[in-house]
């Protein structure tokens, strides 16, 4: 089964490497703590879409403990969105949210960056686009940018079951016992 905690940790490391920010300046959104000071990024995992039909496969291992010889697995691809938001005191220049996200968008195709996601079987197939939406925070402008991404990951789950080894058919009319496939 997929571990979103593992994927989130990998995505966090990926975002830190892309942006060059310290790890403490990249946080997952919608938590109750206080926002970091200065430049920071928030990450949000959003929409999850199953792609096509999930496949159901089974595998038999007669050496497994009794009752657990057959493993039935369901697996399928999932598309999910990742929203990266940048918040910067600066609204122009290379430190502004737009410039930081622009750098991240370009750097994300570097092999070392792709490897960070491949390590957890995540495929970054859509780099999306960047919106730049500076807003007034309290008494001054704050640089704000949003970068939408889409990714693929495969999810699966399985359960153990057993198989029918023997079938007995009883002929009630005669009382004879017929054993099939014994």
């Amino acid at each position: 089964m997929i571990s979103w905690a593992t994927i989130q940790t990998a995505i966090h490391g990926w975002a830190v490497a892309l942006s060059g920010y310290p790890a403490s300046q990249v946080i997952w959104k919608h938590q109750n703590g206080t926002a970091p000071d200065g430049d920071y990024l928030t990450l949000t995992l959003g929409q999850l879409i199953p792609i096509g039909m999930d496949a159901v496969t089974d595998e038999t291992n007669l050496a497994a403990p009794a009752g657990q010889e057959v493993t039935i697995t369901v697996s399928g691809d999932r598309e999910f969105s990742l929203t990266v938001e940048a918040y910067t005191p600066s609204t122009v220049g290379d430190s502004a949210a737009r410039a930081i996200l622009s750098k991240m968008l370009t750097r994300c195709s570097l092999p070392s960056m792709l490897d960070r996601l491949r390590a957890v079987d995540v495929s970054h197939f859509d780099r999306g686009q960047i919106e730049y939406l500076p807003e007034i925070k309290e008494i001054e402008f704050q640089g704000r940018g949003v970068w939408e991404n889409r990714m693929y990951v495969r999810d699966s789950d399985s359960e153990k079951t057993t198989y029918i080894e023997t079938v007995e058919i009883t002929d009630t009319s005669t009382g004879n016992v017929i054993i099939v496939n014994s």
Binding site: T9, G13, A23, S24, W28, Q31, N32, G33, T34, A35
Partner: protein
Amino acid sequence: MPYTDSITSLANATITVTRRGESPRVAGVDQAPVTSTFSLIAVVQPATGEDLQRLPEGRIESKVFAVWVLQELRAAGPPGILADLITWRNEVYEVEHVEPFIGFFNKDHWKVIMRGKP
């Protein structure tokens, strides 16, 4: 009754304050805060309409009380500062707003607006 003793003399409650220190995040995920607790005597009264207006939109509800204490409490503030939690009559409230009265009548005191924590 001298004014300096008014909170002590009129206290109608002993509240328990839980102070929370934000722990460093791990991979961008909040960690459980480090907490410490202490007790205070306090005057707890229903919040007035004026008190309610001090709360941000969306955080106004009926379970709001005004509390007077002789020690500073903390509302959520800069990074790393989480609001104090107040336990009163077996219910937990969060400090939403603090008004310091420093040096008033030679007795520092604080008026705190606390809101029921969901």
